[in-house]
Amino acid sequence: MKNLTQNDSYVKNILLGKNGKNSLLEETTSILTFRKNSKPIIFIGSATCGIVAGSLETKLTLIEYLKERQIDAEVVEIGCSCPCSFEPIVEVKLPGKNRISFKNITSDKVEAVLDGLFNNDLQFNNVIGQYFDELHHPWENVINISDLPFFSAQKRILLKNSGLYTPENILQYVATGGYKSFAKCITQYKPQDICNIVEESQLEGRGGGGYQTGRKWNAALQIAAGQKYLICNANESDTGSFIVRRLIENHPHLLIEGIAIASFAIGASKAYVFIRNDYNKAIEVLSKALQQAKEYELIGSNILNSGTNFSIVLVQSAGAFVCGEETALINSIAGKRGMPSAKPPFPVESGLFDFPTVVNSAETLCNIPSIILNGPDWFKSFGKLNSFGTKLISIAGKTKTTGFAEIEMGVSITEVLENIAGFESQEEIKALQIGGPNGSCIPPSLFSIPIDYQLMKDKEIRMGSGGIVLFDDTTCMVDLAKHYMKFIKNESCGKCIPCREGTRKMFEILENITISQKNEGGHETLDRFKGVMQIESLANVISDTSLCGLGKYSPNPFLSTLKWFRSEYEEHIFDRKCKAGVCQHLKSYYIHVEKCTGCNACAVRCPANAILGNKLQPHFILQELCTSCGICFEICKFSSISIQ
């Protein structure tokens, strides 16, 4: 890299557009974006998904490989291109050739794959595809990466450069059009213009509430105050979602730019990013990016000589789910207990330290730069139904392809499952949950529903943050509801009694359904049945009287599973069976007489003394005493115990 002063003038020249046609600038841009390289470049995916899959070891092996063979190549860390199950991803750009991408390159595969590559003998089973580029020679018989369904089914606007560059590298961000929008705002627009553009775009908040961003900004702008704040909500604590994490790990500068524009638009000179402290990689990447933005004077005082001053502070959250709620978040930043406060007053009127405050989710803010640059009509050209633009989703659970994707609003869940998650048929899918514990469980009969805020709301589905978890027939829906209830019960801040006590009660009732007392009379079944009826009415009370969304939507996992999987509840309550074989207490254990050798090991270990039999004779289990603990099943060396 050249020294800072030269780079600095590169950034200023590009952003302030005084360059006209300047061959030196163009040359620098080509090098920065890897369109021109004189020696091989090897890229390695280094976002969390890559690291978990082993990319650090892969990188070490790569460097060792190059050293041993004295190959002069550059090794560059990139974010991730988002089919997480392909990690560790390694990509190679040989001079004059298209960039080519390989999947699942754990350290043991490095040698074979690179040997093949350098000797023109590709290991096709590891190839994902190549990036086509009119300047370079293509690889033969290698698919264009953008033709893969995973990519072609997406509309990548926010993620357009995912996995291509080093996330925190500001020069690469600027070389690919970054910070242009911010420069345009502070040199050409008044705050009012920006609020209007965003309001016209009808961008809906992506944090789950779906409130229109432009309206919120306009409200904040109209209030006269000595100090205003913008807060980026990156708390993301709903289980099963990793959207914000991936977004920040891949696009820290996009977020900084969005925050900078938003702050300018509402007249805030200070912004906070509230990020989960467990997200160490995201924090590291964002801190580096912030440092670079400061060095290049895109944050600080008199930015680009426009007279604008602005700073960003990164605040680590202590990871409570409720702190994602905006008033709780504000209390937490102010150094108080992270409990929600009653609204009104809304944060826009009186928020952090009692000053007007706008809270926006990280995804919302990342939408801003392209809206400003291309205009509201451009933004509204995306979206097939009521909602405009795109939505980020994450896919996890029982699926072949896990990943992170950006889809056009209005695309149906079926399309997501087929193209992005790679399901040929949906038979294997039992259900999916969207939006975490406060979201909804969706059965296959509703998979045709489009991802659209209004339409989903009409069907009483909460999209939440957009994290999707898939379930197959090894998941018990009653147990799943119990799992979510346990999470919510633990995360309730305790301020409202219906939420605190109600969620605990709901959990207990669900637990009661999934355990069994031996020697039950008839009334236990009746109690369980009454319990479920009780939850239905309890749910209404909790929803009506809770202060924040956590309590309000807390019955969702229970109500939605009950609605769509009622038969499973009935099976648990009346037949005392768990088809999925998950509920430990509802299992019955039997000994196969033919297989049992009478070794006596199980009888000795059974805590309930429920196993009888003489030594070297087949044993049997007394069902009335058995507590279904499963110890005998685990210790039997002859597999003579079966579960029913």
């Binding site: 199950s85 467990d278 997200y279 409570a320 150094g335 659970g397 029982k398 992170f404």
Partner: protein, 154 residues
């Protein structure tokens, strides 16, 4: 230890309450837990009563007020990991160390905890030990990871 805390405090302006949680996080990282002494020092630095600081800190599950083990094994019990078998991993660890969730081994080396979601759901089930993630958790692999931790102590 006091010096360490002083160094942390020096990085933050006096009387600014917006840093309380971040400072607590840093103290916990340096000391392993939040000691009474560190709360008193923090309270003087930010100008907030120590009882208030304690009340804030105790709100967040993240903060602990007693010494902890060298290696804190956090098994993800978030939805994606839960349905992919995190329970089996927890009971394996409980047996392996002969302790229950939340407890510390007698030599103060290991401690098992659960976390609702570690944000690495794409590779479920996962666990994290002192900031490092692990996936593909077969019993052999878990034993190998534990072994690695132990040998890093020597």
């Amino acid at each position: 230890m006091d010096n360490l805390i002083e160094l942390i405090l020096l990085k933050y302006p006096k009387n600014a309450t917006e840093n309380i949680i971040e400072i607590l996080l840093q103290i916990q990282e340096a000391e392993g837990f939040i000691s009474a002494q560190s709360i008193i020092m923090l309270s003087e630095h930010v100008g907030v009563q120590s009882s208030k600081i304690y009340s804030v800190a105790s709100f967040y599950d993240q903060f602990v007020f007693e010494a902890r083990a060298k290696f804190i094994i956090r098994v993800c019990s978030g939805t994606s990991c839960y349905i992919s078998g995190s329970d089996t991993i927890i009971s394996f660890l409980e047996k392996e160390f002969n302790i229950r969730i939340g407890e510390i081994t007698r030599d103060h080396v290991f401690q098992i905890e659960t976390k609702s979601c570690l944000g690495a759901c794409a590779q479920s089930p996962v666990l994290e030990i002192n900031g490092v993630f692990y996936s593909n958790l077969t019993p052999q692999r878990i034993r190998q990871i534990i072994h690695q931790c132990k040998s890093s102590l020597q």
